[in-house]
Every structure is written in structure tokens, then in C-alpha cells.
Symmetry: C2
Subunit: 339 residues, 2 copies
DNA sequence: ACTGGCACTCTATTAGCGGGAGTGCCAGCA
DNA sequence: TGCTGGCACTCCCGCTAATAGAGTGCCAGT
């Protein structure tokens, strides 16, 4: 048996009420709060069907109904009316971003903004190196055998690494290394860079080959290894909203998960082209925590250079959160494009 | 009436037991668990005095005693037996730090290490710019009117800023600016730099004065404004240890405080020369939260370039925490000195 | 100065007992 | 066929009362 329109309407009403009140919702209060045009008894029948189909459940007999993960999923997929941002929220975004000074600042402000608007935990991935391009490489001698390699990308990000040379190098040599690297790599996407670095070593004069190889290995690390690691986090205090109600005994593991960058990246990551994605409960594949993640890619124009998102209880205001995440992602993208 | 030795011993026993059991401690269990050599009744008399003096209190009549902030203070000041690190902890520190790649890495590892060892919330301040020295300045042209200013310090830290020039500049000009800046500032402490930057503008040829003034203003910002801002945080999940027992309803404000860098800096900051400092409860001057902070400065040799510390419930294992914080601070200092 | 004894206080736990919300089912009605 | 009102049933929640237990303060005795 498929679900007719009214049953879907009932599901929507249940989700909305439950999100608002945090309490299992019964048939009577449902018909009172929504114009369903039918009696509680009828709603009860619909509920029985919805329960059978796995969209809602009862915490115990003779309690109201609560949406299941599947219920939220259906709600998000088919029942969400797009909720436009309030003017106040729009203004908040604008105001939050005036006077940004650098990339770090953008990321930090964004994550706070997200946390504040959604009243949830917010995560922002730093613009990923691998999708951006090298703007400039700099080599700074520290001692005769040590250099600092500084890489600046077109997203304004700066990475530095220490390079230990096998033998002392002269300033002129450093100069030459620097020139060659820039010549070869400046303007290149980071994803495309590794083979070029390889070339760099091969094309090098034999007497400099050792130095260059050494530099190249660090360069490769810089390009790839830590490329997607960095994250900013804010709003953990929001986890305690609603007292112990959400996250019964699970606050602990949630906080732990939030400290694991790897896990966070998995949550925010895997971005499809510029859509906002919602993962509900189990879909997140971490420890069956009752959390949902709303995430989106962002970047200048159509390219995606990083992800951002929001994490909260499965019982969250999906329409509002989705709208906010999407708006912020777009805004940050524009900001990066301007820069 | 002053406190004789046995009363102090009783206080120590109370603190130790309470820290361990998290429950108000009574006279009977005290004499059972410690070799005080007197009867419960005697201990009760001592307790009455300690309570009068404000070192302990009763949550309610006919409950055991709990240390007050003053009690912890006395305990820390006079009763703490220095607890050497266990070999296991020592090894943990060593192991945690092998293979560090850069400053970011050091800070992140340190903060995790601290959180793990103390099972508390850990905070590490990035090496402060103002006490370190300029190693190198780099100017990278982005467009004809835009430069990226990159500053590398001797603690390995890199700061970058965008500089908007009033008029287009030629590569040669950039070159010259760069040369002058490095000549003047390389090797200088950041605290000493601002007046030198001033000189730089004054000594400049008139036709370049505008450019240099513009650069100088950004440079000054970089040197001063955000100099002590950055922090790393770890172990927030540890706040939930002991369930709702510590931090009754106060988990929320604690989490909020942890997100305010300003507050954290106040907690960790104000460092005296290389001692480990303990601030208990109210002494922290934030909202009367029942938290204590154990903090220490760190840096290469005797200089302090940053602070680190640990935050936990006032009921914490002070001797252990103090020892750990001190050891980690020293270790990080050595690491920076090597670099 | 310390100790054992004792009465007292207060908390935390348990059990018992409606009240209430909500359900499922059924018979009746359009 | 689909909706409705009625009704008995179930189970949670909150309230009260009773009890056990831990710990204290005080006092008289050594």
C-alpha cells in the first residue's frame, strides 16, 4: 500500500511538531495544531500505517509517535518546503563578513556564523589545496642545510615546511631552485602538480639533482599529504541545548567524534557538485549516534574547494538548516571569488 | 587558632579522597583509608575546625565534607607532594612527539597529548609573535596593485597578509621594498620592530614613500594585532567524565567559554617566568564556574613564547596535573629550542 | 587531648497509587 | 469504502509516604 497525500501530510505534521516540542506527538494534538480536516481517529489509522512502513515509531505503547530516521529522510526528500532566509539572517551573514582580513579570518568567521545561525555545531573545511592552484613558491634559507618552503595558493592559503638538505647549499643554488620551481609550478592546480614535480627532478642538472630530489619530496608532501586536513569547529555548546534531552548518554561520543578530524572530514566530505546534502542518523556511519549532518561544498564560482556543514540531533529543523547552510556556502564562495 | 599538622593532614586526606571518589567524605571512611592514628570522633573535631576556617564545607547537614576553593588552594600551596611522572607518561610524551613536521603539528600534538595525559581539556597558545623574532619577510606580487606579505619567525610561524597598494608597482619596486624590509627587520624581536618600521618609511626615497607607508601599515598589523590570538584546544569530551557529576548544570557555560578565545587567553595568559600556575574556581574570574586551570609558559630556553594549560573541575588531581603540565611545557620548550 | 556512645538530621531510595495521555478496536454512518 | 465517535486498555509520570543509611555534634569518661 502506498502512502496517499494525507498520510504524507500527517508525517510532515509529526516531524514539525516533534522538532518543535521535543515530545512524542499524539493524534489529538496533531489535529488541533494543523488543519488536517479529519478526526483524531482517522489520523490514528494513518499513523498505524506510517508506523508499519517504518516512518514513525512509539517510544512505548500509549505514547505519541516519533519520527524514525526513515521518516526524517522522507520528510527531507519529499516534504520540505523551501524556507527562505529571514531578512535578519541575511543581514547577519552580511554583517558577519565585513572587514575580513585573510583566509583564516574567513574560515573562523564562517564557522561561527554557521553555528550561530543554526544553533548547532558547525564545521568548515579550509579550502582544499588539491583543487586550488599554486600561486607562488618561496624558499627561505634558515641555515646552510635548512630551508623553509612556503607555498602560497590562489585561495590565499599558505603552507610552510621545513626542508633538510643532504649537503650545504649556496644562496645562488637556493635561488635557482626557487626559480625553477616557480617556473614549473606557478599557476598549476595542485592535483596536477605531482607529475610536474617529478619532471623537475629529471630535468635538473646532475650536480643539483640531489638537492632538487630532496626538495621535491617535501614538495610532494606539501601538495598532497596534509592537503585536506584542516578544519574549524564552533558551537559545541549548542549540543547541550535542550538539556539532556537530545544525546541522552551520547554526548560523550559526539564530543569525541568532533575531535577526530578524520571523522569530521568523512562527515563533511564526499561532496557532490554544489548541492546541499543531508545525512540522517545511521547514514553517517559513525557509531549509530543520533546525529544528522547537513553539508555543502563551497568555492569560487562552480568549483568546489572545500566543504562546510552543520551537525545536530536527528531531530533538527531541516528546512531552516538546509537553507542556512546553502546560503552561507554560497556567500563564502562569492567571497573567495572576489579575493 | 592555627591549624596543627594533623588538621592539615586531615584536609589533605579529604581532598585526596574527594578527588578520587567524587563523593563527600565522612570521618569514618577517612580513618579507614588513611593511617591517621586517631579515631573518627577526633577527626570530626578537626573537621569542625577546618569548616570554621572555610577550608571545607558540608553540602547538607549530615553529609560528608567537601573541600572549598580555599581548601584546594591550601592543598595546592602547602600539601602537595610532588608526584613524579610515571615512566609510562614519560614514554607517552616522547612517543607523541616523534616525527613532528612543523609548528602547527607541534601545537596540535601537544594539545592532544596534554588532554590525553591529564584527561582534561587542554589549551595551547601558539608561540606568540611578539616575543619571537623576524626571520624573513617575503613579498609576493598577486597583481599589479596587490601583494601578499609573508612573515616567517624564528619559532617557525608563518603569517600572511594581503597588501593593497595605492598604485601599480613594478616587480623591481617590490624587490626593493622586500630588500629594505629584510635588511631592517630580519633578526629583530617582534616587540622591537614597530619603531623600525617607522624608520623604514622615513628613510625611504620620496617616490616610494607611498608604497612603503602602505606596506608598513600592514606590517604593523601583522606584528601586533593578531599576535597572540591563535589557540589550539582538545579534550572537550573529557568534560563529560563522571557523567553529570561535575559541572552540574554548568557544562553549557563552560563549553561557551572554551569557544571564546579571549577568555581562554585570559585563563592561560598572564604568565610568570616559567612557573606552573594554578587558578582555582573564582580565581579565574569567569562566571564563578567550578573550574580550575593549571597553566605554564613555555619557550626555548628561559624565554616564554607562549602558554599552555589544562582546564578541569575544581575537583581535579592537582599534583598529577601540575606535574604533567610542567613536563609537557618543558618538553615543548626543548623542542622549539632544537628547531 | 582523645575516645566511644548516642540521639538527631537529612538524603536517597523504594514502593504504592492515581491521573492522564494516547492508543487500538469496533460499530455506525455517509 | 472511508471516516467518525465511543470505549476499554496500557503505560508513563509525578506524587506521597516510609525506610534505611550515612554522617554529624555533643557529652561524659578515660
Amino acid at each position: 500500500m502506498s502512502l496517499d497525500d494525507r498520510k504524507l501530510e500527517v508525517l510532515r505534521a509529526i516531524v514539525e511538531d516533534y522538532v518543535e516540542t521535543r515530545e512524542p506527538v499524539g493524534s489529538k494534538s496533531l489535529v488541533e495544531r494543523h488543519q488536517l480536516g479529519v478526526s483524531p481517529a482517522t489520523v490514528r489509522n494513518d499513523m498505524a500505517v506510517l508506523e508499519e512502513e517504518g516512518y514513525i515509531r512509539q517510544p512505548h505503547t500509549s505514547a505519541g509517535r516519533v519520527p524514525t530516521d526513515a521518516g526524517y529522510r522522507l520528510f527531507v526528500d519529499r516534504l520540505t518546503r523551501i524556507k527562505p532566509l529571514s531578512p535578519a539572517e541575511r543581514r547577519a551573514i552580511e554583517r558577519f563578513m565585513i572587514g575580513v582580513v585573510d583566509l583564516d579570518d574567513v574560515v573562523h568567521r564562517t564557522v561561527r556564523l554557521l553555528a550561530q545561525l543554526t544553533r548547532q555545531v558547525a564545521v568548515v573545511q579550509y579550502p582544499s589545496l588539491s583543487r586550488s592552484a599554486v600561486r607562488h613558491l618561496e624558499l627561505v634559507p634558515i641555515s646552510t642545510t635548512r630551508l623553509t618552503l612556503v607555498m602560497i595558493t590562489d585561495t590565499g592559503r599558505v603552507e610552510q615546511r621545513l626542508v633538510e638538505m643532504p649537503a650545504p647549499v649556496q644562496p645562488d643554488d637556493v635561488w635557482e631552485l626557487r626559480r625553477r620551481c616557480n617556473e614549473k609550478l606557478a599557476g598549476q592546480k595542485l592535483v596536477d602538480a605531482p607529475p610536474l614535480v617529478q619532471n623537475l627532478v629529471e630535468e635538473c642538472a646532475p650536480e643539483r639533482r640531489g638537492d632538487m630530489a630532496c626538495l621535491a619530496s617535501v614538495l610532494l608532501e606539501t601538495l598532497v599529504e596534509r592537503s585536506e586536513e584542516r578544519l574549524a569547529l564552533a558551537g559545541t555548546a549548542n549540543l547541550t541545548r535542550g538539556g539532556v534531552l537530545d544525546f541522552q548518554g551520547t554526548l560523550r561520543p559526539v564530543l569525541e567524534a568532533l575531535e577526530e578530524e578524520v571523522i569530521l572530514l568523512k562527515l563533511i566530505g564526499d561532496l557532490e557538485p554544489s548541492t546541499t546534502r543531508v545525512r540522517i542518523g545511521d547514514e553517517n556511519q559513525i557509531d549509530n549516534l543520533p546525529v544528522s549532518v547537513v553539508s555543502s561544498g563551497y568555492g569560487p564560482g562552480a568549483t568546489i574547494v572545500g566543504g562546510l556543514g552543520v551537525l545536530g540531533p536527528t531531530r533538527m529543523d531541516y528546512p531552516g538548516t538546509i537553507a542556512t547552510v546553502r546560503a552561507v556556502a554560497r556567500y563564502v564562495g562569492d567571497l573567495l571569488a572576489q579575493n
